[in-house]
Symmetry: C2
Subunit: 427 residues, 2 copies
């Protein structure tokens, strides 16, 4: 197949007719698939069911230090969980606080407390005329939702293959005191699957923020979520890099077991300098007497240590890899060389990022929906839901079964072709 | 023994000498007991261990409606849990949202969201010059901490045996638009164990708030926490009373299983009108993808229904009743008729409230601490930690073993006597 851009109007018209016929045919099959969110699949969840056996009515519910996990207390979480979750992020246990059933609420609280009470003694953001956050794009919609909720202005920062455009990041952070934060998913980023290069991490650590209360929101959501055994991205530990660069308090790191154990039934954490943690404990202590230590205990008894976690994630990868590859194969086979789209080939994480021709994303997603396949809303990967080029589509291949995925991918490429042809004919 | 006030200086001096000797004697025993918090005891927690068996690796993790509790989704919580927790409060499932591992964070969030985003379309409290809350006293220190954190002015409302002084409540709520809320523990109140009379609840429901965004914070923490089978307090359902009185949106009700299953390992809930819930979902949806449904499922599979819950709480009562009675017996035996203190005799809940002679509470608690028994800080039951009469002490008899409790109660009454005698001699 030659690139669509080299086709004559006539060829395009014939192609459109053919594609429309195919589309009507698929539509009549009455598909009903949801590929909108990065949800673990049933077989992944089944893999964690052993966690339901590690505690029973005869279990000793105390930690090694003798903490009864069934009672109040220990705001920080149990030491064993702090060590295990620290291991996932590559930070010492003392820099970790275990929180609730996921990391989103911890990130939310970090922003919310900054709004009402300020960061480490600085003026509350809610009392400032302007608060801005940098948002590498495409990015994670739930980060952006927190910003919109608090009326924080978002500034798009383009992603490169090394991570966010650091020239721009340095420019904004080092010159504008209204810039109070940046959202990062540094490893297998959502949705592109890009991992930040060592140089990127070091440039982050070496920032010289104009605002003393500037913080990097380092959402290390996919720290051990590799797809391949022999090709794994690793990133530098931002906490120690910041410390080395003389900026020990500049970062909050977040992680969770949402995509390791159960989504919503896991544990979320924040890691930061001891100084930051002292401030974080202040607002936590107003909100809660302590988080769910029984679930913390369950997690450490099940996973035991990093070896246990890694073995578990290898089994996840065995399920996810074929799904990613199935989608990538369809994309390559059906769209390769047509010049109507490009896509990422991540080595981990939960998403494939697709770049359609400018102005086509919204229509492609609408066409998929019309035929019964729900994709993430076009625009969702950008602040305010506004993709300036209307080109990015997030593909979430994790939840559907392989059969469903094949159907969905076939429909997706068909919609990409159809919308692209129409667009070319309109020009 | 005659009342201390009728003793001569000489008699008091002799008594002081004798009590000081006893005190030194107890001190030398090196007690180490913590009676500061309302924590369930180990035997109570043991009683819930069966909850660790209801889910194992072969369990069906889906609800009746087919929701997979291991995955994202269902912000409201699972229908079975909504029904069960609604049962505890006496409200329909549709008025309930299941939240995290306790109710404190839900109450915190209700206040926090009102500060930054306002209640149901009203101006955010953070943008007002003055925000006030009524605080029936003595009350629960963690309510007051939330107020202090947000700089909300607290107004003391004396408790009567029927609940808060409703003349005062009506005066403030109906005339001052800065009054935005009131903290209530309507059943077996913390710390007095008072349950609001029907008239009190009806007067609450019939309030005509000067502020349209006034809300009653109805912390129904001890809804099914009776001590006696044949003498149980019941209160009217505030939600339906408010609806009948034409104030359907005036109340947020909170509850949890913290003192039913595990403290910190339970489930917390909010109940409110459908209109309020729509607003509540808005801020919840920014904070979380959903709460821990696995733990919700575990709770409903274990407790099954109200009958299961009631049977469980009867077993709790069998443990707690002797503890309450042991303390009450020591108080009666040692302090009865002396005129140096009075105390409540609750039929449920977690506390006994002790009223010392004016100006003695702080010193009694200090004396106890010096001899190795930690009581709740004097003043903690009042806003800003300031008990104007320095007379209230919260006794938390639930956690210690009966033997420890006997020792602690003996020390307590000794300290009450000693401090009271000294005070009378000082006058």
């Amino acid at each position: 197949m030659k690139p669509y851009s080299e086709m004559s109007k006539e060829e395009l018209r014939a192609l459109r007719e053919e594609l429309e016929k195919q589309y009507e045919d698929v539509k009549s099959r009455g598909l009903k698939l949801d590929m909108s969110r990065g949800k673990p699949s049933v077989s992944q969840l089944d893999m964690t069911m052993g966690i339901m056996d590690v505690l029973d009515s005869h279990s000793d519910m105390r930690t090694e230090a003798g903490i009864d996990c069934r009672n109040y207390g220990n705001l920080d979480g149990i030491p064993e969980a702090k060590a295990m979750m620290g291991g996932i992020m590559g930070v010492p246990a003392e820099n970790v606080i275990i929180c609730g059933n996921g990391s989103l609420s911890v990130m939310y609280n970090a922003v919310a407390s900054s709004m009402t009470h300020g960061v480490c003694g600085c003026k509350p953001w809610g009392k400032l005329d302007q608060v801005k956050f940098l948002c590498p794009v495409p990015g994670y919609d739930r980060h952006f939702t927190i910003m919109e909720y608090f009326g924080i202005e978002m500034i798009n920062i383009p992603m490169t293959e090394q991570g966010p455009d650091m020239d721009l990041v340095e420019h904004y952070v080092n010159t504008d005191p209204a810039v109070k934060g940046i959202w990062c998913v540094p490893k297998y980023s959502n949705p592109q699957g890009i991992s930040y290069s060592d140089e990127t991490v070091r440039r982050f650590a070496a920032l010289k923020p104009a605002a003393p209360d500037f913080r990097i929101y380092w959402d290390n959501a996919y720290a051990i979520h590799h797809l391949y055994e022999d090709e794994q991205d690793e990133i530098l530990d931002i906490l120690s890099e910041c410390e080395k660069a003389g900026n020990p308090d500049m970062v909050y790191e977040f992680a969770s077991t949402s995509k390791i154990s159960f989504a919503g039934g896991g544990i979320g954490v924040v890691a930061a300098s001891l100084n930051n943690l002292q401030y974080i404990r202040k607002w936590m202590n107003v909100q809660t007497i302590g988080y769910d230590k029984v679930n913390q205990l369950r997690h450490v008894r099940f996973f035991k240590d990093m070896d246990g976690l890694k073995a578990h994630m290898r089994r996840h990868a065995d399920i996810l890899r074929p799904k990613f590859e199935a989608v990538l194969n369809v994309l390559e086979r059906e769209l390769g060389g047509l010049g109507i789209g490009s896509w990422t080939k991540p080595k981990g994480g939960y998403f494939i990022s697709f770049e359609a021709m400018d102005g086509c994303a919204r229509e492609i997603v609408a066409k998929c929906k019309e035929a019964g396949v729900i994709m993430t809303n076009a625009g969702a990967t950008y602040p305010y839901g506004k993709d300036p080029k209307d080109s990015n589509i997030r593909i979430a291949p994790t939840f559907p079964t392989p059969e469903e995925l094949a159907q969905a991918a076939d429909l997706f490429v068909l919609c990409v072709k159809l919308v692209s042809v129409c667009r070319l004919l309109d020009q």
